[in-house]
């Protein structure tokens, strides 16, 4: 893993709101084909961190590198164009539209009618949707049903598909299983694994330790805005992570430069 270049590299990000320091000296690396769980209690700074990565907030200090090049985003749209797709809990789907229309929301393909008029190319939207859903092993019986008639898992799948279709370099998922039943939770986690297997790395923000243990390769724990520690999932236990989250333990080495963060955690 260390031989590869990280797709995303976040170095010493810092963000405060008035006197409140939300994130300080936060660094993380994300490598191709891995799922990183981002853990932490409420108010630990997880969402501030991802909002900086996805262009919602501008960091007060620190750098973000995407594929080795430094990037700054002035809007979430810029981050998306650069390949950082963020799927928030509310999924940002139009409930009244069908799956294909949601996958192509705002980027509908057009074809010419009578040589002059541009019309939405629905046939292409459906065939492309079917193709990419197939790639991700997602089966949605009727693509023409509006999203509001779909289950929570199907909606999540549509949101993920939209991210993947638009060539996401990485996907950030905020509590993807929070609103789902048990059966659907495991399906969404399977989808996260599928994404990873296809080389799209995922940052998974979750309250649910079981999700992270089930699907992540590494877990990074935040507490009070900084990085409390990092664990390779295959070499750690749930108790281990909980004690990091509640602050009972802390990694010995302060993570100033995050270049060798994986090794830091192992050491």
């Amino acid at each position: 893993m260390t031989a590869m270049e990280p797709i995303l590299r976040v170095v010493n990000l810092y963000k405060h709101f008035g006197g409140l320091v939300a994130v300080k000296d936060m660094s993380l690396d994300l490598y191709p084909g891995e799922v990183v769980g981002l853990l932490g209690d409420n108010g630990a700074g997880k969402s501030t961190l991802i909002k900086m990565i996805s262009g919602v907030y501008h960091p007060d200090a620190g750098q973000i590198f995407l594929d080795g090049r430094e990037v700054t985003f002035s809007s979430p749209m810029e981050a998306r164009r650069a390949g950082i797709e963020t799927i928030y809990q509310d999924l940002a789907l139009c409930e009244n539209l069908d799956a294909a229309a949601n996958i192509f929301l705002g980027r509908e393909p057009v074809r010419r009618q009578l040589g002059v008029f541009q019309v939405v190319d629905r046939a292409r939207m459906f065939s492309e949707s079917r193709r990419v859903l197939g790639q991700l092993d997602i089966h949605i019986p009727d693509l023409r049903r509006p999203i509001r008639l779909m289950s929570g898992g199907q909606r999540q799948a549509v949101a993920i598909t939209r991210a993947v279709y638009w060539n996401a370099r990485l996907v950030i998922m905020d509590e993807p299983t929070a609103a789902l039943g048990v059966a659907e939770q495991s399906k969404v986690l399977a989808l996260v694994r599928t994404l990873r297997d296809q080389g799209v790395p995922v940052i998974l923000i979750s309250h649910n330790m079981q999700d992270v243990l089930a699907v992540a390769d590494r877990a990074i724990v935040m507490r009070r805005g900084h990085r409390q520690g990092e664990r390779v999932i295959s070499q750690s236990t749930g108790d281990d992570l909980v004690s990091l989250i509640v602050g009972a333990t802390r990694d010995a080495m302060p993570d100033a430069g995050a270049a060798d963060s994986a090794e830091t955690a192992l050491a």
């Binding site: 229309a101 929301l105 008029f117 898992g153 199907q154 799948a157 399906k187």
Partner: protein
């Protein structure tokens, strides 16, 4: 395989039946009305009467087309009635000034252009206030209702503007084709050389208001169902935040939709001027509610995201058939208000019942 099946397949057939009935209730209702009035009303079931229903509903329906876009967007445009009235006044005054010195076509086009400019100005102000400053559409368009009303009366001095232009009435009341049993078909005017009783036998086919209405219905249907403009209208109405995050230019689109609504109201106004050869600031006052009613009866949701042009067409047809049928049955015209009001409430009840059962 990550199979994410929808649940509750057991209730499918029952739900589908209700869903289908719910979808087609408006068509069935219209059909029932037509059958009822055909059996009870002398002269209801005739080509002449159907064409006059079409011509009479044209102004309301053209206003309702724009309203459909606004309501799907999740807004409301209360100003279309008086924007329509303002356009009749502006168009009438331009036509009066050009008078008989210019060719009729030029006079009509100049009136149309002036009315359209007045409408677009009102629509642009509506759109800017709603999209840029975030003022609720109800408030903005209520304000514009008053402003357009006031300006319309100020421009016309409080009186209708009569347009004495040769042949203008023929533009708003004529037909595309005329048919006479002996003289055959002719284009735009009755076959020449017919007198008296013969002239009364001539049947007009496709009155101009009806033709204009059909064209605008088709254009709006195409715009709403086939273009990105229509797709974005549904998206913003469904989830404005999601549309924003997907990069849809929500502000610009909102402004365009209110401009479209006002433009169509203005076109309806100019049609009024050619039909009744005058302009009156309050010409559209009574039509606003009918036009909103047509959209709502057509199944559009006032919460946004749902609605179709075909629905609005049906809604307007139901209203027009009720009004026409009651007149033919010689029932006190005030009952028309009661009937249309009842149908509005009925329509929303049916939609609610359908939504409960389909979910």
């Amino acid at each position: 395989m990550t199979t994410l099946e929808a649940t509750t397949p057991a209730t499918r057939p029952a739900r589908n039946l209700v869903g289908v009935l719910g979808q087609f209730w408006a068509w069935l209702f219209l059909l029932t009305l037509i059958v009822f009035f055909s059996l009870t009303g002398q002269g209801f079931f005739s080509l002449f009467n159907f064409q006059s229903i079409g011509a009479n509903m044209s102004i309301v329906l053209i206003m309702a087309l724009g309203q459909t876009f606004v309501i799907i967007l999740g807004g409301i445009d209360l100003s279309t009635g008086f924007v329509m009235g303002l356009a009749t006044v502006v168009a009438a005054q331009v036509m009066v000034n050009l008078g008989n010195s210019q060719p009729l076509l030029l006079v009509v086009l100049a009136g149309l252009a002036a009315g359209a400019v007045a409408g677009l100005a009102a629509g642009t102000v509506n759109g800017l206030l709603i999209a840029r400053l975030g003022v609720p559409p109800f408030i903005v368009t209520l304000g514009m209702l008053g402003i357009a009303r006031g300006i319309g009366f100020l421009l016309s001095g409080g009186l209708p503007v009569s347009v004495q232009v040769q042949g203008l009435g023929q533009v708003g009341n004529g037909s595309l084709l005329y048919y006479h049993p002996q003289a055959g078909l002719s284009f735009l005017s009755p076959p020449p050389g017919l007198q008296g009783a013969d002239l009364r036998q001539v049947v007009g086919i496709l009155p101009h208001p009806l033709t204009l209405m059909i064209i605008l219905v088709l254009v709006c249907h195409w715009l709403l169902s086939n273009t990105r403009f229509g797709q974005h209208t549904y998206a913003i109405g469904g989830n404005r935040e999601a549309a924003l995050r997907a990069g849809i230019p929500v502000q610009r689109h909102t402004i365009q939709v209110y401009m479209l609504s006002a433009l169509l109201a203005a076109v309806a106004g100019v049609l009024y001027t050619t039909r009744f050869t005058n302009g009156a600031a309050n010409a559209g006052d009574a039509l606003l509610l009918d036009s909103i009613a047509a959209v709502v009866i057509g199944g559009a949701s006032l919460f946004g995201g749902e609605g179709r042009i075909s629905g609005t067409l049906i809604g307007a047809l139901i209203i027009a058939v009720i009004q026409n049928g009651l007149v033919i049955l010689a029932i006190n015209p005030f009952w028309q208000f009661v009937a249309v009001g009842t149908v509005i409430i009925l329509a929303v009840l049916v939609d609610q019942a359908r939504a409960r059962l389909v979910r």
